[in-house]
Symmetry: C2
Subunit: 222 residues, 2 copies
């Protein structure tokens, strides 16, 4: 399978790229507004996977070209770049693609991080509104600490929550998630349940901030 | 220590009563609007703990009398009864007491449970507004499945999140939480971080609903 990581030079893109690079045979397409940066990142991910004894196929492109070549398109961009990133790649998407959104809207305030969704109700809902109707959208990978994901020496043993209205798309993304060693995918229902999933991201940061010896936290449902 | 469980005839009250009853020597005061119901519940909790080989001290009172006798007052009532419960016991509270709120505002909709806080921003904030200023308020025990808590044959191995602006009160409640076998207390910061903690409650229900073999879910931060 071909997976595009748009904004894949960022930290969550890096984490997913090196995990899938090490643990699967999927072809990974790092997208960026600057294809030079994407190619440099792709090279560094291949090197990181090689250091961990793996052999990854990772290439760099501009976002639209990455999306065009991919079966699954991950919007690994900050919430405020979701809309323009979708706009840049929209014409390359069709009903056979799956768009995945891992971003959570939040705001850093003096007392902690707070959930701060866009007016659509969640970043996932914003993506659903922005992507052409026939293209399935899946929310996933919100609650993974990017630094831990990117550090292949760290074990995961955590869960990721998947929200989707399209069962096939949800199954595809859950399978991709579970191909990452130590990651379990759990459904949290339809896209309308995304806000509660995204709210977990600021909570994880608040918990990490307020407890010694806890950082790069993930969550396990049990 | 004396712990009042206001609305303690309900399921979260039952769960906390039997766990503390089995695992600690604290005196537990079940409160209800109807003291008869409170006494009946107290008897059944003593019996449940005895069945598990323990010896609990649990007594039933009306809410105000339970609160008056207690050092720690847990508002184990549904969100829409928080305000009138506080009003009923307010005159019994002073700066040496700690009020604990485990309720989360949520709404069941066709597609799942959604976080639905009161206009104060969270149930915790509503409690803070309702309780006299000098009485410390702590949010805790939001994310415990009541059925699992009440079933002493089930192991926990989960976390509870604590929010508070008063460090001593937070420490008291965290200690009480960790006296329950298999429960770890983690700080999520100040009271203003309560909404993200409360949001986890509908999320847990959505995850339990959408995955086979997962029910009465708790969460572990790792």
């Amino acid at each position: 399978m071909r997976i595009a990581l748009l904004g894949g030079t960022g930290d969550i893109g890096e984490g997913l790229a090196v995990r899938w690079g090490r643990d699967t045979d999927h072809e990974l397409l790092v997208g960026s507004r600057d294809p030079e940066k994407a190619r440099a990142a792709a090279e560094s991910y291949v090197a990181a996977v090689a250091d961990a004894g793996g052999d990854a196929t990772v290439k760099g492109f501009d976002n639209a070209m990455a999306a065009d070549r991919a079966d699954v398109v991950v919007l690994a961009v900050p919430p405020y770049h979701v809309a323009d990133t979708v706009e840049a790649v929209e014409s390359t998407l069709d009903a056979d693609d799956v768009v995945v959104t891992p971003a959570a809207g939040m705001k850093r305030e003096d007392d902690g991080f707070h959930y701060h969704p866009p007016s659509a109700g969640s970043v996932t809902a914003l993506v659903r509104d922005a992507v052409p109707d026939e293209v399935p959208v899946v929310g996933a990978f919100h609650n993974l600490a990017a630094g831990r994901l990117a550090d292949l020496s760290q074990e995961l043993g955590i869960d990721t929550l998947v929200v989707a209205d399209d069962d096939d798309a949800a199954a595809t993304v859950s399978r991709l998630a579970e191909e990452i060693e130590g990651l379990r995918a759990l459904s949290a229902g339809g896209l309308s349940n995304a806000a509660e999933v995204e709210s977990l991201t600021p909570l994880l940061i608040n918990v990490a901030t307020n407890n010694d010896d806890l950082h790069d936290l993930g969550v396990r449902f049990d």
